[in-house]
């Protein structure tokens, strides 16, 4: 029994030690990971915030919404940026590991922009046409009023929230196998810039030096460009929120940072970068 008492003592000591470790003070380092759509904005937020809060270090990386959420689940990030909502299967994993359902913070609004080459005669497309183009049913630009040229599809990788959002809300089916997947919206924009028969999609903030396609809800609706007004009023048909996900209710430095992002100062940067404020 003496041996056992020693064992019990060791167990209790180990338990107490581990509890002590759990409550060790946290540093003011914030890790942000996830959506490539949000990465420019997130970096801008971090830069500006760190200037006024030198005690806080913020590290921002992209990788895609899925990558960010996985990192949140496995404890590799404090904040996961996502351009789509968290999936039920991801919430289940968060429940298993942290016993929480996660906290969702809508931090900006975006209109998924359809990019075309400036030489393309097509200037507007309906949601149905976009769906058929990305499903591979419409294969030639002449079928939608353009030149006789095979449509070249560019899109994001399946770890991207934009990929998922566009698939669920526009394509409503499987992407055509011919769709070239590229790592990041900037790569999609570059590919379309170089390809007169190309079409791509991505965040509004990346649409520079490229033709922005007007999107129509249906054949009888007017074509709408993604602007602050049309996105705010939801007139633009492919409007979405951009999110930040956390494991728990934010406290300390993370809470201060998120409060700042949602403040007029933080939301001003949203507009500067090319997205739209949440309110």
């Amino acid at each position: 029994m003496k041996t056992l008492n020693k064992n019990k003592f060791a167990v209790i000591a180990l338990l107490l030690g581990m509890i002590g470790l759990a409550f060790a003070p946290a540093t003011d380092k914030i890790i942000v990971k996830g959506s490539d759509t949000l990465v420019i904005l997130a970096q801008r937020w971090a830069e500006v915030y760190m200037k006024s809060h030198p005690e806080t270090a913020i590290q921002v990386t992209g990788g895609g919404s899925g990558v960010g959420i996985s990192a949140l689940i496995n404890g590799a990030t404090d904040i996961a940026n996502a351009s789509r909502k968290m999936k039920p299967s991801e919430k289940d994993k968060l429940k298993e590991r942290y016993n929480t359902l996660g906290v969702e913070v809508a931090c900006a609004k975006d209109g998924i922009t359809v990019y075309l080459h400036p030489s393309n005669k097509v200037k507007e497309l309906t949601i149905k046409q976009l769906s058929d183009i990305y499903k591979g049913t419409i294969k030639n630009w002449k079928e939608v009023g353009g030149a006789d040229a095979e449509i070249k599809l560019y899109g994001r990788e399946n770890s991207s929230g934009t990929y998922v959002f566009f698939q669920e809300n526009v394509v409503k089916g499987d992407y055509a196998p011919s769709c070239q997947t590229l790592p990041g919206t900037a790569a999609v924009v570059n590919a379309v810039k170089k390809d007169p028969a190309g079409i791509g999609y991505g965040g509004a903030a990346y649409a520079e030096g490229i033709e922005i396609c007007k999107v129509k809800k249906d054949a009888n609706s007017p074509g709408v460009l993604p602007t602050a007004e049309t996105i705010k009023s939801n007139e633009y048909p492919i409007t979405r929120y951009l999110y930040m996900y956390l494991k728990n209710k934010p406290t300390g430095a993370i809470k201060q940072y998120i409060d700042w992002i949602l403040s007029p100062e933080g939301q001003k940067l949203v507009v500067e970068v090319g997205y739209f404020p949440v309110k």
Partner: protein, 456 residues
């Protein structure tokens, strides 16, 4: 002058020739580089196509090594290191909506197939999925990953009702994206993990890949996720098991040892139970949850018919099937302590026979009208309830590595008087202690487990 002009002309010609020669060389080099780049692009396209095929295969797994200390003096050796699980999971996404999964468990001396199934997801509504093969039975604790279990092993009631967790069969799942509801309907062989002995003590259910009878079991589970605002969420649901085993005996004895019903060999012996479950998640100081489940119903074990004497072989009296009314439940309290640590407490209770209380054990008996053809049966250890207080603490070094300490205080239901139900045991030095374990007291079955888990 002429001479100078001639020299100049020669020099210019030489330069022009050299420049032309250089131009030709550059052109050749550009062509060469172009060809190389084209070759690389071609190779890259082939590699990319191969890589896309490989990306459809996902491999994950985990390994659990542990040291355990058993306080029961009858368990010898009382402490040892073992490999609890060493599993690899191969998933192949054959096409959008079609998934194959294979999960072997590589334990020293015994490789077993834990899971092997195909899932077909409906591509239109994206709400239904059809499973076929060997998969987890639809129950909360069963489906909860063994790598994530907070109290290292599942509760006794679950381990008893669903031995080995997995079962062969087919399952239809309904999980719409718009409503937080999840319905599972499974058709199972229903004999997985059960031991059904014949009169010679041979397990008739040793073929793990085949049903032992024509009866199929039905299992149904429905859950709903309710959001509770910023507080957290409540998941709740119910499940039911409706099955039968083939009788190999001529009688079935009731749970209270009083009623003997005549049956035929091949008749269905019912095993039915229902359960209710809840999981409450609260975002309080780093996350916590309360989880519980209550299950009650009728389980069954299969006996055998009497065997007549042949030559010098003596007759073997039969054993009646036994249908026991049971009840069991578990309750977890789990608290995350910062990002890296987690504490868990679980109380679990299982009463295998709700018709026999501890005081009646060994006193309540069935006496066969003819003990030469049917054995008598007295209530015993298998009718005693067990309650377990389990404490566990986990430290996550990272997502791949978890170290856990678990201490289970196991208590048995007591019989009415000393000496009524006892067991012998052997000490480490080989000394036998007759009737050393007396079930009129709590027999110490406490277990301490230190486990390290690597996961990828």
């Amino acid at each position: 002058m002429k001479r100078l002009s001639l020299i100049a002309l020669m020099l210019i010609s030489a330069f022009t020739f050299k420049a032309k020669a250089q131009e030709a060389t550059v052109k050749e080099q550009v062509t060469e580089v172009n060809e190389k780049v084209n070759g690389l692009i071609e190779r890259l396209a082939t590699d990319e196509a191969d890589l896309q095929k490989l990306a459809k295969i996902k491999v994950s797994g985990y390994m659990q090594a542990q040291w355990q200390y058993f306080e029961n003096p009858g368990v010898q050796p009382n402490n040892f290191v073992s490999l609890r699980r060493a599993r690899l999971k191969f998933t192949y996404e054959a096409a959008d909506g079609v998934k194959f999964l294979l999960q072997p468990d590589f334990l020293p001396g015994a490789v077993s197939l834990r899971e092997a199934y195909v899932v077909l997801n409906d591509r239109w509504t994206k709400s239904f999925s059809l499973w076929a093969g060997k998969f987890n039975r639809p129950n909360y604790e069963v489906e909860y990953s063994s790598s994530q279990l907070e109290n290292l092993e599942r509760s006794l009631v679950i381990r008893t009702l669903y031995p080995g967790e997995y079962a062969l069969g087919a399952k239809l799942e309904y999980k719409p994206s718009m409503i937080p509801i999840h319905i599972q309907l499974a058709l199972l062989n229903g004999n997985d993990g059960l031991t059904i002995n014949n009169s010679a003590g041979v397990n008739l259910n040793s073929n793990e890949n085949k049903d032992i009878d024509n009866y199929k079991d039905i299992m149904v589970r429905a859950t709903y996720n309710l959001k509770l605002g910023s507080f957290g969420g409540l998941d709740f649901g119910a499940h039911g098991y409706f099955g039968s085993l083939k009788s190999n005996a001529l009688n079935t004895l009731s749970s209270d040892y009083t009623t003997l019903k005549s049956v035929n060999i091949g008749d269905a012996v019912k095993r039915n139970w229902v359960g209710g479950e809840f999981q409450l998640f609260a975002d309080v100081l780093g996350g916590m949850s309360l989880k519980g489940e209550y299950i009650a119903g009728k389980n069954a074990s299969i006996g055998y018919a009497p065997v007549a004497a042949v030559g010098t072989t003596a007759a073997v009296p039969g054993v009646a099937n036994f249908q026991n009314n049971f009840a069991g439940y578990y309750l977890y309290f789990i608290k995350n302590l910062g990002k890296k640590n987690q504490f868990s407490f679980r109380y679990d209770y299982y009463d295998p026979n709700t018709d026999i209380s501890g005081k009646d054990v060994t006193i309540t008996k069935f006496t066969a009208p003819d003990a030469t053809t049917l054995k008598n049966k007295a209530s015993g250890k298998s009718d005693l309830a067990t309650s377990t207080f389990g404490f566990a603490l986990h430290h996550y070094f990272d997502d791949n590595l978890r170290i856990s300490l678990d201490y289970d205080i196991v208590q048995n239901e007591k019989v009415s008087a000393a000496g009524l139900l006892t067991e012998d045991y052997t000490k480490a030095d080989g000394t036998k202690v007759p009737a050393g374990l007396d079930y009129s007291k709590v027999v110490n079955n406490n277990v301490l487990t230190l486990r390290i888990q690597a996961k990828f």
